[in-house]
Symmetry: C2
Subunit: 191 residues, 2 copies
């Protein structure tokens, strides 16, 4: 998606350790106008899928997922990273290793909000090693629901998450896929 | 806002300990159509305010804030609850005690995304003791920016947060204010 690639080229900052900072418009400050264009594009890409729910994970996936959901006219469920006393005990759970935070989270979704009749589109801001998306797929499969696909804003194509998911037959649509980036020059090359 | 009150009456569950569960449409599964109506109402209520940014806090404020932001045509910034290695060291910080989770969080916002020229509307899902909103106000004041007001989905009127904020001269608009609720009968009385 050229609009997103252009924005990443213009405002994204490449840091050592394969880190791309896009917190000016994607995951700290959020440009909801851009998210709306992303929503239109995801709707176009997944137009043939009977999506009835969007699943994401807190925190930075939530904003994108909500704006995208308007284009599908479906609710959003977000998986929570820690046990909350306000969630009933009746939850699906998995463990997700965070590439960014170098730690493992317990992730939960209430059993009330995913069931076997659901056709779910997963939405997240980043795909790198695929830990978060694999955890969400595990939650969906625990419920006997159907994974219709995965919509990602920025895929780090140098890391294996996207390839591993596609090799499993999961449909993954990433609006920008980074082939390489250089923290010395700041250059970002898209696929 | 009658639409929200009706939805709370219909689907909200009152639990012992003054807990209202609205996770079917507000803060776990999210009804973005309802959020859109809430956004229209916040825009109507704050129509006279020169809002140029919305500030919220992860996680459950983000979805509402993003949909509301479409009605103001402004970006959203969300305060983060833990130090992230992807955030520059240059942050405003405060401590927020969570009523729900019975713990204290360090909360941060990058200095890049709040500055003295900003006129900020705070959006959050719940207002109870006001700890989160007071923390966000502290962050805004650290930046020398202006708090235009606070927009809340559900205020627990039995708890002091709303009154304390209004007594400080902060404009608080809550779409549903609960005067009392009974975990035996499930009855919820709105102000």
């Amino acid at each position: 998606m050229k609009l997103l690639e252009d924005r990443i080229r213009k405002e994204g900052v490449v840091k050592p350790g394969n880190v791309l900072k896009v917190d000016g418009f994607l995951n700290h400050q959020m440009d909801v106008g851009l998210f709306n264009e992303m929503g239109k594009e995801f709707k176009r890409l997944f137009a043939d899928c009977p999506v009835n729910k969007i699943l994401t994970i807190e925190a930075s996936g939530i904003g994108i997922a909500c704006i995208v959901a308007q284009h599908f006219n479906v609710p959003v469920v977000f998986a929570k990273k820690t046990q909350s006393i306000n969630i009933d005990g009746d939850v699906y759970t998995c463990k997700i290793e965070s590439y960014t935070h170098k730690r493992t989270y317990d992730v939960i979704v209430s059993k009330k909000y995913i069931n076997k009749d659901d056709h779910i589109l997963i939405i997240d801001d980043f795909l790198a090693n695929g830990c978060a998306v694999n955890g969400l797929i595990e939650l969906i499969q625990s419920a006997g629901a159907t994974v219709e696909g995965v919509g990602i804003a920025v895929e780090k194509g140098q890391q294996p998450g996207g390839k591993l998911l596609r090799n499993q037959g999961i449909r993954v649509e990433s609006l920008a896929i980074i082939d390489s980036m250089d923290d010395q020059t700041g250059e970002i090359i898209f696929r």
